[in-house]
Amino acid sequence: MRTLTFHENGEHRWHLFGHDADRPANVIDTNQYVVESEGRAALIDPGGLEIFPQVLAALSEHVAVEAVDHIVLSHQDPDVGSSLPLWREVCNPDMTVHVADVWTSFVSHFDNDARLTALPDSGGTVTVGSLALELVPAHFLHAPGNFCVLDARAGVLFTGDIAASVIPDDYDGFPWVRDFAAHTRFMEAWHRRAMGAERARDAWIALVRSLGVKIIAPQKGSLLAGENVDRFLDWFGRLEIGKGIDAIAEWQRAYQGRTARTG
């Protein structure tokens, strides 16, 4: 499990725990983030059950688990937050778990005893020490209830599965994307398939362009900084998304063909 502290300004830090070469081979690689401010912390997308020990070990070298006041789940997927019941075992009992309103009863399948704060579609704010983290709506990118996390002070936008990349373990473009054009080969298949709503994509891109984001921190793969932020927004805006939707009509044609032959 690699650790990267990619923003540090006094007591204000962003840590990434991820790119774990020792994870089980069939478990997708994910990034887990901790934002620290004035000795308090928020854990963003804490990851799946199977990688909990490694993430906990890496995190506890930087942050006391008792200092984690918030867990934010960008959406409901198991690689995002199925470790939730174990984090609740070790963290502050008063810790709050934030998740989209539409997913609270789904996330309860991971942990029925968790005290979940339901985020409305319009988002919300989480206070960590002296820092206000904005929970920014990004619905349908890819989950129907989905949030990014904006730290306006640091210029960091955690984007969940947007800008995610599935990269090889020995990739030299981790943690930072060096050659954006070359990096797109690790993002393209995912974005074509997982992102299905052009209207949502276009609205989100327009929003992000207005926020002065310096760093895009996705839940999988490499981070984008500086000019690569705009390069990503341009590339994503041009990408043909919704791959798989055509399969519906293709199946219908094939089905009609089969039933016509068999009567």
Partner: protein, 223 residues
């Protein structure tokens, strides 16, 4: 003295052995419950047989009094069998609930043990101990369910013996009843058939319950 089941849940080797033990215990209990799957139908068949025999005994006047006593006794056995069936039904749910909770807790425990190996945080140690305590409590619940299943199996075995005795007595009574004798002999034969089905069930269940109790004892002795 330190509780041996608690000891079994400590440490990864003990935890894995306990987890396998619980999975095996649940498997044996499931098979024992399956052995009794037709118990309710059999109880109903016995009840109808006893009613028919009683109607027949009614036609023989005072001479059928002994048969009526035997059929009433049969219906008491039917009531016991239905009670056992209902109890098994509830116990089956409890066994699965406790078994599933155990397996879930062992999964958590496995991850918390790995975490404790990687982190020296007191919070992690405390979480591991809590998970271990929950795993132990759930294992105890599964072992208790297996013990209760043993008791119900014994009850069915006792009812089997009593059913056989009733069949023999009806057969003896049949020899005293002239024209009705062949009808009572037929009742006795059907009763014997039902008793054999009951015996097959309890023999099959006893085998699985025996294995379950061996596993339960091993769990309690602590891996």
């Amino acid at each position: 003295m330190r509780d041996e089941v608690e000891h079994a849940a400590e440490g990864s080797a003990g935890r894995e052995k306990a987890r396998h033990g619980v999975a095996g215990l649940i498997n044996r209990c499931i098979r024992a419950y399956r052995s009794f799957a037709a118990l309710e139908d059999l109880a109903e068949d016995l009840r109808i047989l006893s009613l028919n025999a009683e109607l027949l005994a009614g036609r023989t006047g005072d001479g059928g009094r002994a048969i009526r006593v035997l059929t009433q006794y049969t219906r008491e056995l039917v009531t016991h069998l239905k009670q056992v069936y209902d109890a098994l039904d509830a116990l089956e749910s409890q066994t699965f609930a406790a078994g599933a909770a155990s397996l879930k807790e062992f999964h958590r425990l496995r991850l918390l043990e790995r975490s404790a190996g990687l982190s020296s945080s007191p919070a992690v140690r405390a979480a591991r101990e809590r998970a271990s305590a929950r795993a132990v409590a759930n294992v105890r619940a599964v072992v208790a369910a297996a013990s209760a299943l043993t008791e119900h199996t014994r009850t069915v075995t006792t009812i089997t013996t009593q059913s056989k005795t009733i069949a023999v007595n009806i057969a003896i009574e049949a020899t005293w009843h002239g024209g009705y004798g062949q009808h009572f002999a037929s009742v006795a034969e059907t009763m014997r058939t039902y008793a054999r089905r009951l015996e097959d069930m309890s023999t099959d269940a006893r085998g699985w319950v025996g294995e379950a109790m061996t596993l339960g004892a091993a769990l309690s002795r602590a891996a």
